[in-house]
Symmetry: C2
Subunit: 148 residues, 2 copies
């Protein structure tokens, strides 16, 4: 992880897009996450029908890691998620997958209740090395404004 320059609400533009570098998911990673959080057969064993696949929550957590460590998103003190709409997992994640995140800015507005903050809305698609979408979501974060 590099030390990116700090970014404020004003540093994002509507329609702007960014793709992160990839992270690899191993069978061990999949099984370790599943043992802690989603102990179902298809997430724990390669002998399950269909082979070993990652928990959707593992993919979601890796997506957050890609988002936070990319340097594209670098608010002054971290920023709080305001929630997620339409989180889907269109295809399974298998061991060895190289996941990267594509982010597109879909909305930018000043917070009504917290005028020192802006609301950054994004469409996020998590992709494999073959360009297949394994997760999609729309999400918003509250991010400090530079000027107040």
């Amino acid at each position: 992880m590099s030390a990116p320059r700090t970014k404020y609400f004003e540093d994002f533009a509507h329609g702007e897009a960014f793709e992160t570098p990839p992270v690899q998911v191993t069978a061990d990673d999949i099984i370790r996450f599943a043992a802690a959080f989603d102990p179902q057969p298809m997430h724990l064993s390669a002998t399950a029908p269909g082979g070993l696949i990652a928990s959707g929550w593992h993919t979601a957590s890796l997506t957050m890691r890609l988002f936070v460590t990319s340097g594209w998103y670098a608010p002054p003190q971290g920023a709080l998620g305001m929630g997620v709409q339409d989180l889907t997992w269109p295809r399974p994640v298998h061991p060895g997958a190289l996941l990267r995140l594509r982010i597109e800015v879909t909305g930018l507005r000043i917070s009504r209740s917290k005028p020192g903050f802006g609301i950054l809305s994004m469409r996020m698609v998590t992709l494999t090395q073959d360009g297949d979408a394994v997760q999609t979501m729309t999400t918003s974060v509250l991010i400090p404004r530079r000027s107040l």
Copy 2:
């Protein structure tokens, strides 16, 4: 985790509700998850403004654990999530929180594309020991029918 009896689509009823036993979240748990998946200051250190709080994705993953290990939900070979609508984190999760999950069945229908399966839709609210909601979502899973 007990060994629950297997449940099929037909074993769930519209409006049915269930509350899981609790799981405790420690400061170590919060920091370990954040280091792997959400390395922002408020998830890594108790000296951050507002104190240490869990990543929303940690709360989501713990919610999945409560769901899968409760015994209420026990499909024949695990079941696949079809996605999530309106995932929100209305309050922060602090170290020591005892989280439990309240599930309500909000929809039951046969899958059009896979007639051997039904779609179970649920409203899920993750609660602290004080009854405060720290996560809400609506989600659906594909679950085998008994009769085909």
